[in-house]
């Protein structure tokens, strides 16, 4: 007579293993769902940031205070920006810079100087040069694309900054032609605007740090009106960029975004 005990034991072992496999499978599914949800949450947050920070067009006046080692200087300017591809800036003061104009069309940048009556195009690696000795490069000024178009994103933590709860996002570039391969952004959890940002090179070196403050509600959106840029490779106290007035979605004359406007 054949004993059924070994068969019963075998069935028990198989059942146990199946149970373990099920659990592993469920854990993996859980991780996958969590990751997907994280990515979806992160992407949704970034989309809201883009919604706040981008607009069809905008006109703003600003001051840029550059803190040098010996002294500080403040430059005022008026800028017009349409979408992601066109912008025009006219420097209003000080006298040395008055009348200097800057035009960005897609990935090209021209600067016009009334003193020399010359229009100079800045391109290639020269875009990485500092603008007027500030902590901003021409590349920084030109980068207007929506973050969701350029970066993949995930949530890496939470933190409280100046009493405001923030979600920390890590952005990794999905395109090659970006100024910064990696960004770390501290996003206000309620207002969906960045309060702090760190910009990294592909090698992992921290290149710039920005702090965004004076968040105001303007035409139904939250917007930071003071940004302090600090080039981490440079000594100094950084550059303070303050928006003194801003209007979104205005009717802009088309000629503003032409080279002819530079000499007007």
């Amino acid at each position: 007579m054949v004993s059924i005990k070994p068969i019963r034991d075998l069935i028990i072992i198989v059942n146990q293993r199946t149970e373990i496999m099920k659990r592993i499978f469920l854990i993996l599914i859980g991780i996958l769902i969590a990751l997907t949800m994280n990515a979806q949450d992160a992407k949704a947050i970034l989309q809201k940031v883009d919604d706040n920070m981008s607009s069809r067009n905008r006109v703003f006046e600003s001051t840029m205070t550059i803190h040098g080692k010996r002294s500080s200087r403040t430059i005022t300017s008026r800028s017009y920006a349409e979408g992601e591809k066109q912008s025009f800036t006219e420097y209003l003061s000080p006298a040395r810079d008055q009348g200097t104009k800057m035009l960005k069309l897609k990935d090209q940048l021209w600067i016009y100087s009334p003193a020399s009556d010359r229009t100079i195009q800045i391109s290639g690696h020269l875009l990485r040069q500092s603008v007027m000795g500030s902590d901003l490069s021409y590349e920084d000024m030109m980068e207007d694309r929506k973050l969701t178009d350029v970066y993949g994103v995930k949530i890496v933590g939470v933190e409280t900054i100046e009493g405001r709860k923030t979600t920390i996002l890590e952005l990794i570039a999905v395109l090659d032609d970006v100024a910064y391969y990696k960004r770390k952004m501290w996003i206000d959890a309620e207002r969906f605007i960045p309060l702090k940002e760190e910009l990294y090179a592909k090698g992992g070196q921290l290149l710039k740090r920005t702090t965004l403050t004076d968040v105001k509600q303007l035409q139904g959106r939250w917007f930071p009106t003071t940004i302090v840029y600090k080039d981490m490779l440079k000594e100094g106290k950084g550059t303070e960029f303050k928006i003194t007035g801003i209007k979104f979605d205005q009717e802009l004359p088309a000629y503003i975004f032409t080279k002819a406007a530079l000499k007007k």
Partner: protein, 424 residues
């Protein structure tokens, strides 16, 4: 006796030809390499001194720390007063103001828009003052390939390579674009007075030379200067003199708690030139040592072969009653004579090739195209009085040493066995 030995050497060429060839080759290489390396180091130090470091250089401490970035925002303020003070306190040197700046040289088309552009290294020197020695010091006049020296404000010299690459002609308008001392945008138009090629890759890539007063205007640097350079009136770098002036100046002017206070550096404190100066000083010794060791080994071997060949001769001389020490000393005298003959031949050929290399040099331009060091593209030799005698040291020493080692075989000969050996 010497005449006798000398005649012996001339008549028995097998005794002298190979050693003379070995010695002259070694001496030739010693003289050539010493002369060539002396020339390379001298040119390198001269280029650095004339274009960048001076024999001494005064900058603010903050500027000195970031010097490679040409940080004119940290330049010396009150430069005219400081220069006057330097002239008063250290009259043994000539003091000159210089401004170096980075920027973009932009070439317009007929509509005034960018046709071509490249990065420029601007050097502002006192060009328009007829008493200034700056153009002579930087060899500007002889480096002009097309056009002429600027003789008016608003004129510039640009690198010939840049002009060729971007098709810029003498008389064309070019625009310098950069930042002023205060960080404002600087756009300034210049007329190209001429093009220059210094034979220094770093400058020939994109140098722009303008007058100091123009630079002060466009960079908002009135009464300011990036650097004040001191050049010894003697015309050459004297390390002791530089060290004394540096120490005296820094004691008086440099303040530890003020990064904008001036600091003086000697030539050898800058651009890693200390290592090169040390190397230049020890180069002759290294050359002599290498060739003495190498040639001694070869000549020892030659001496041993000669000893075998002259085995019978030494045997007969010993049999005739000549002292072993006398045979040894005559061998040494032969060695000295061969050493001197070889040294004369080697020195003559070495000096001849050095003379050629001093005039024409060897162009390493392609190798140095991307070099960021201030180095001449042509490596030239430099004939110094030392080259006339330096070859005699390894030449004679190696020959004597080689023969001295080989000559010990004489003392191993057994007089009792001589006749048996001579029968063979």
């Amino acid at each position: 006796m010497i005449r006798f030995i000398f005649k012996g050497l001339l008549r028995d060429r097998q005794r002298s030809l190979l050693p003379v060839l070995v010695v002259s080759t070694g001496v030739f290489l010693t003289v050539l390499m010493t002369g060539w390396l002396t020339g390379i180091f001298k040119d390198m130090i001269d280029v650095n001194a004339d274009f960048t470091t001076g024999h001494v250089r005064v900058m603010t401490q903050a500027y000195a720390q970031n010097e490679t970035q040409l940080p004119n925002d940290l330049a010396i303020l009150g430069a005219d007063d400081l220069t006057a003070e330097l002239e008063k306190q250290y009259p043994e040197m000539e003091w000159v103001n210089r401004i170096r700046f980075g920027g973009l040289l932009d070439i317009p088309d007929s509509l005034g828009e960018t046709r071509a552009q490249g990065q420029a290294v601007g050097i502002a020197v006192d060009l328009l003052n007829p008493q200034s020695k700056e153009s002579e010091r930087m060899n500007i006049l002889r480096s002009i390939v097309q056009g002429k020296m600027p003789d008016n404000k608003g004129e510039a010299l640009i690198s010939e390579d840049f002009a060729v690459r971007f098709k810029v002609q003498v008389g064309d308008k070019v625009t310098l674009f950069g930042n002023t001392m205060n960080g404002a945008m600087m756009f300034s138009n210049f007329i190209v007075a001429g093009t220059v090629r210094f034979g220094v890759a770093m400058l020939d890539r994109g140098a722009v030379i303008i007058d100091l007063s123009d630079a002060r205007n466009i960079l908002d640097m009135q009464d300011a200067s990036g650097e004040i350079l001191g050049f010894s009136h003697a015309g050459y770098y004297d390390d002791e003199q530089a060290a004394l002036i540096k120490s005296s100046f820094n004691e008086t002017f440099t303040k530890a708690d003020d990064e904008f206070s001036p600091v003086m550096l000697r030539l050898r404190d800058q651009n890693g030139l200390d290592e090169y100066l040390k190397l230049a000083d020890s180069m002759s010794f290294i050359m002599i040592l290498v060739f003495v060791i190498a040639m001694s080994i070869v000549l020892w071997n030659t001496g041993l072969l000669g000893g075998l060949r002259r085995y019978t001769e030494y045997g007969i001389r010993l049999a005739l009653g000549e002292e072993k020490s006398h045979i040894y000393s005559t061998t040494m005298m032969e060695a000295v004579l061969i050493g001197i003959m070889g040294s004369i031949v080697g020195t003559v050929f070495g000096l001849a090739l050095c003379g050629y290399l001093q005039t024409y040099g060897i162009d390493f331009g392609r190798v140095l195209d991307n070099s960021s060091m201030m180095m001449p593209q042509k490596f030239r030799a430099y004939i110094t009085p030392r080259l006339f005698y330096i070859g005699f040291i390894p030449g004679t020493l190696a020959m004597v040493l080689g023969n001295a080692l080989a000559g010990f075989a004489i003392y191993k000969r057994k007089t009792a066995r001589l006749f048996k050996e001579l029968e063979v």
